[in-house]
């Protein structure tokens, strides 16, 4: 479904929500909440905070759906914007939301309910997603080993928040620069340059173990 038809459906659902249509709210929630939840999860590193943020985002919709202005972006952008503010608010309350244990084992990690990145069973079949269905893109086996994926996931969690949010929106949620700019309330150029910088930072982080290995080999 393209963005235009998606927007028309979303705006129609919003109108029905304002008029008190519960079914419309349920449909919109089910369409939009997974991405909002994942965004909050990636940004906070904590499942229970991600649940709270998701709930707050849709409570905002229940109380004040009229705040959405189609001229300023899509419904998704609006919801991501609210989610971002909620995450920032929680950051203000507790700046230690994302404890990142640097135990050197970055093979596979996921965000756990206890506030830290937890290991996920590394026996999860390669080439399959977490639920055992769906496949990775072609070329996965050649370029993205499970080790690389684990290290990239960990590296995303260590990025400064303004870089992490563009990676989550543009790479993991596959939003366009324009949609991300609307969600983050910044110019498209800022999104583009932050993403460029974020990817450079990720590459640098991925090179670090290689440098360490080389240095230790030279030392021996």
């Amino acid at each position: 479904m393209n963005t235009a038809s998606e927007l028309i459906i979303d705006v129609g659902l919003l109108r029905r929500i304002v008029a008190g249509d519960e079914a419309a709210f349920t449909i919109l929630y089910r369409r939009k909440h997974p991405a909002i939840y994942r965004f909050a999860l990636h940004m906070s590193g904590n499942a229970s905070i991600a649940e709270d943020v998701t709930q707050e985002v849709f409570m905002t919709l229940i109380r004040d759906a009229k705040r959405f202005d189609p001229a300023r972006g899509t419904v998704s952008s609006f919801l991501f914007g609210v989610a971002r503010n909620q995450v920032l608010k929680r950051w203000e309350q507790n700046r230690r939301l994302v404890p990142l244990p640097d135990d050197g084992d970055h093979t596979e990690s996921g965000m756990g309910r206890n506030g830290s990145y937890e290991k996920i069973d590394s026996s999860v079949s390669a080439y399959r997603n977490g639920n055992g269905n769906g496949t990775y893109p072609a070329g996965y086996d050649e370029f993205a080993s499970r080790e690389t994926i684990g290290r990239v996931r960990h590296a995303i969690g260590t990025l400064p928040e303004n870089y992490r949010e563009v990676v989550v929106l543009c790479e993991l949620e596959e939003m366009s620069y324009e949609e991300a700019a609307s969600a983050l309330d910044c110019p498209v150029g800022t999104v583009r340059s932050r993403l460029h910088r974020a990817r450079t930072m990720l590459l640098e982080k991925l090179r670090e173990p290689q440098r360490v290995r080389r240095a230790s080999a030279v030392g021996e």
Partner: protein, 230 residues
């Protein structure tokens, strides 16, 4: 390799590198130039491989996480909140609009009467019914002309009840720059503002203070009982 491809510099290559795997970006010719440049430059070829590897890893993470969603109890809690919210305010929009219109009409009427008194009865009418005051109850300058501004001494001793927020009032934080305006309102106008009145058919006007926000919207009201001094 074409001359154009050779002409692309490493810096230019790095600038468009991250867009190479994005749908529709960059344009075909530029993309071809970039790939051709990577073939001719060892360090850019290595960078391209690393970037592709990162891109695949990001896609894999996206696929891995695609089934993550909030637990069912979040949806249940939201649906319950939705029902409660709609039950609490079945027709909020109509009610707010009616209340706002009624208040605006009442304020306009009061201001109209005040202006009439000012024009017809001279510069210092003894019964001017609009007395700007500060939130503390002291009169304030409104720029409406000195005749309508009374000094604190000129205001008769009074018993003012506490302010009561009007139904559609903004939150207290948005009251910066608000002014208190003394008006005389009919009992029926008071009733539309949600102020309980004993006899709405009584034609006598009741003095009241309105807190008016910067955008001119009345936010709160208090009734004022003037004490006869003589």
């Amino acid at each position: 390799m074409s001359d154009e491809a050779i002409r692309m510099t490493c810096k230019e290559f790095e600038e468009i590198l991250n867009d190479l795997d994005r749908a529709g970006m960059p344009e075909g010719a530029l993309r071809e130039q970039a790939l051709a440049h990577a073939e001719s430059c060892g360090s850019c070829a290595r960078l391209l491989t690393e970037t592709e590897s990162l891109g695949f890893a990001l896609q894999a993470i996206s696929a891995e996480d695609s089934d993550r969603r909030a637990p069912a109890h979040v949806e249940a809690a939201l649906l319950q909140a939705f029902r409660q919210e709609k039950k609490a305010s079945p027709h909020p929009r109509i009610w707010w609009q009616m209340a706002a219109l009624a208040t605006a009409a009442a304020v306009l009427l009061a201001l109209g009467f005040s202006l009439r008194d000012h024009l017809w009865m001279g510069p210092n009418p003894p019964d001017a019914n609009v007395i700007p005051t500060s939130p503390s109850g002291q009169p304030v300058e409104t720029g409406m002309g000195s005749p309508s501004v009374l000094s604190a001494d000129a205001v008769a001793p009074e018993f003012g009840s506490g302010f009561v927020a009007l139904p559609y009032a903004d939150d207290a934080g948005s009251m910066e720059g608000a002014a208190v305006v003394r008006v005389a309102l009919s009992r029926s106008a008071l009733a539309t503002l949600g102020v309980p009145v004993v006899d709405a058919t009584d034609t006598n006007e009741v003095p009241a203070d309105l807190i008016v926000s910067v955008d001119g919207t009345p936010q709160a009201i208090r009734l004022v009982s003037e004490v006869t001094t003589n």
